[in-house]
């Protein structure tokens, strides 16, 4: 993983005698939240709203989904209260952290008409600093991918940069994987390796859980110094390894990334795309939940008097019909072409643009697709068709001839 910290101008070297890891008891976890708030951070963390585990303002440890687990499959997401008392025993829900780093609606410019001409100023600079509490490794990698888009030459997004620089990250290592997870295939988890200020692993010892906290940066060490941690023993470290190993061993899906880019590029006309097009609703859910989708649109508006104008940036999706509109019509009219654009961009073009694939294996697109489309299955179908000859796509309802 690229050293995103460098891009975000975040200091990572810790002082030579600084703490590198510690153990926090369950009853002291709230002290961590308090320390972050005392430092001026607005803490965002997982909690339950409308039947899903989402990311929102976290003021107390009691808001965390204690004992809840999630059950995910193609086009299906359910949460239920289990019998345990773990605080992080689920994976990822419909939210990712991108809404805080790159808000869905962002005013960029406020302008005023003058007698002659107009004047405008940059707007929308963040007025709060976030601490993300409970960032899974896949999402850490997604943030790194966002850094590659917004913090590199020739144009750096100033709004993103400020939010990114001022954001404190408390990662959490996954103890199990959903059936839709495939971070291991994308080399983006389940273990958080870098890119965080602090990283937690929930150790399920008996009734009360303990938290191994690893320090990843100077400011992480500074926060750590204010909470009552205990020394982490070798046994604790090994237990943490077991927790993550459990997640690794139970990955729900896999994506073979060998030659993936070239394979998708040369299969532009593969019948698989037609088969998907019959199922895809172009609802754009996948792009909304995907933590690395970054497309936006720019809207210029004016008030009724016409004397004040604003420029807003809004999340957009390549699935919309007018995404590719250019004088007189859109380039990608069919659903097929729009799905193909999304998947080929994510798994192939991204590599050419930013160095690595744009997918972190979080599985959200599979879970939240109302048609249950699974990009790992589709990629596999293409790969297999190349080994065994043309693939038969029998899901077509009106197909009368073999491809």
């Amino acid at each position: 993983m690229q050293n995103l910290a460098e891009l975000a101008d975040v200091a990572t070297e810790t002082a030579p005698d600084a703490i590198t890891a510690g153990l926090l008891r369950r009853e002291h976890l709230s002290r961590l939240l308090e320390a972050l708030r005392a430092e001026g951070y607005t803490v965002i963390g997982p909690q339950i709203h409308d039947g899903a585990i989402v990311y929102d303002h976290l003021t107390s440890v009691n808001q965390l989904p204690c004992g809840w687990i999630d059950d995910q499959a193609n086009g299906s997401y359910r949460i239920q209260q289990g019998s345990g008392s773990a605080l992080f025993d689920y994976t990822v829900g419909p939210h990712s952290w991108k809404q805080f780093l790159y808000p869905a609606h962002q005013r960029l410019i406020a302008a005023e008409r003058l007698t002659r001409g107009f004047t405008g100023s940059t707007d929308g600079m963040p007025d709060q600093r976030y601490a993300f509490f409970g960032v899974r490794s896949c999402d850490l990698h997604a943030i790194d991918l966002y850094d590659r888009v917004f913090l590199q030459h020739p144009y750096v997004d100033p709004n993103y940069k400020l939010r990114r620089q001022s954001c404190f990250i408390v990662a959490v290592n996954c103890g199990h994987a959903a059936t839709t997870c495939f971070c291991a295939s994308m080399n983006s988890g389940p273990r958080a390796k870098s890119g965080y200020d602090l990283a937690m692993t929930e150790l399920p010892t008996g009734d009360t859980h303990r938290y191994l906290i690893e320090v990843g940066s100077q400011r992480g060490a500074e926060i750590m110094a204010t909470v009552p941690y205990e020394t982490a023993t070798e046994a604790d470290l090994q237990e943490a390894e077991k927790v993550v190993a459990n997640a690794s061993a139970h990955m729900g899906r896999a994506l073979d990334v060998r030659g993936l880019k070239e394979m998708l590029y040369r299969n532009f006309e593969h019948p698989m795309w037609d088969s998907i097009a019959e199922r895809c609703l172009s609802c754009a859910n996948c792009t909304m939940v995907c933590p690395t989708c970054f497309c936006t649109t720019v809207e210029d508006t004016t008030d009724l008097s016409g004397s004040r104008a604003e420029r807003w940036r809004r999340w957009d999706s390549c699935f919309t019909l007018d995404f590719s509109y250019i004088h007189g019509g859109s380039i990608r009219v069919s659903t097929k072409s729009r799905f193909r654009q999304w998947m080929t961009h994510k798994l192939a073009a991204w590599s050419d643009q930013f160095g690595i694939p744009g997918c972190v294996g979080c599985g959200r697109c599979i879970t939240w697709c109302p048609a249950g489309i699974d990009i790992t299955a589709e990629a596999r179908a293409v790969r297999e068709s190349e080994i065994n000859g043309p693939c038969e796509f029998s899901r077509s309802t009106h197909d009368s001839s073999n491809p």
Binding site: R113, F118, G120, Y155, L162, C295, V298, D300, R313, H327
Partner: protein, 287 residues
């Protein structure tokens, strides 16, 4: 690194999403649906110099923004011209502006025509319709340094005689400079004295040395594709042919994702693209 709560201010000059005000010196109607805006910076010396082939994002206050290639002589910057057709809400609003009105400019963005690389070679320029506008800055550059190039040929095709852009200028260039200019139209009444036929039909006869030439093409995608094929037939290598691609743009700086052409961002990897990079995908539908 600052952990303090105050955040550094962003200078408006460095914000690439903030338009700079330019004043309209003149609005010139070129053809029935095409017009040119002649602009100068509203305050001070104004924007950066531009290279032929680059574009600006033009902002009409409160209405919106469109990407338009710069169509004037780079040597005359910061004064700039933009030639455009009325095709939508923003260009329609732009057409209603008058001398003295203000327009917002962001740019210049994008890649440019290979004017330097063409030194010592023949240059064949093929323009279709309004595609002549983004090529005009290159022509000015070539003519300003005429001695650096061998033969310069301009093939220009458009729909009908009424749609010929920069007519007077073409005549002027024909007369003043060592420049071969051939104009053709797709359809004409018999009163038209000149070529009738698509611009590609002029390629087989055009007087340039295919083994030592740089080609610059701009126009509708179909026209550019067939022109590139015609040049290939003449023996011009793919690496010496350049096209100017066009896609939907919102930000112009490679961040909104709209202008992607495969892995290429038209706004920053283009709009001028070398043909060998895109030859395999140019004829792909819905790419």
């Amino acid at each position: 690194m600052a952990t303090a709560t105050e955040l550094p201010a962003v200078s408006p000059v460095t914000d690439p999403m903030l338009p700079v005000a330019y004043r309209i010196q003149r609005v010139k109607q070129e053809t029935e649906d095409t017009f040119t805006l002649e602009l100068v910076p509203a305050v001070g010396k104004g924007g950066a110099a531009f290279a032929p082939g680059q574009f600006n994002m033009l902002y009409v206050f409160g209405v919106g923004e469109v990407p338009i290639s710069i169509s004037s002589d780079p040597a005359k910057a910061p004064a700039i011209h933009h030639t455009t057709r009325v095709v939508g809400v923003v260009t329609k609003a732009m057409r209603l502006l008058k001398r003295g009105d203000t327009i917002g400019i962001r740019g210049p963005f994008g890649t440019h025509w290979p004017v330097e690389e063409a030194a010592g070679k023949d240059v064949i320029i093929v323009a279709g319709g309004i595609g002549l506008a983004p090529l005009r800055p290159a022509l000015y550059r070539l003519m300003a340094n005429r001695e650096k190039y061998h033969k310069i040929v301009l093939l220009y095709g458009t729909r009908s005689p009424e749609d010929i852009l920069y007519r007077q200028e073409l005549e002027h260039w024909r007369g003043q400079f060592d420049l071969e200019i051939q104009v053709t139209v797709d359809r004409a009444a018999s009163s038209w004295r000149g070529n009738v036929g698509v611009v590609t039909t002029m390629i087989p006869r055009a007087p340039f040395d295919a083994s030592n030439t740089v080609a610059m093409i701009c126009g509708p995608e179909v026209m550019m594709r067939f022109t590139a094929m015609g040049l290939q037939k003449r023996g011009v290598p793919d690496e010496r042919i350049y096209l100017s691609m066009e896609r939907n743009m919102k930000c112009g700086i490679g961040l909104c994702g709209h202008c992607q052409y495969g892995p290429l961002f038209t706004c920053k990897d283009g709009p001028v693209l070398r043909f060998d990079r895109i030859a395999g995908v140019l004829n792909r539908a819905e790419y």
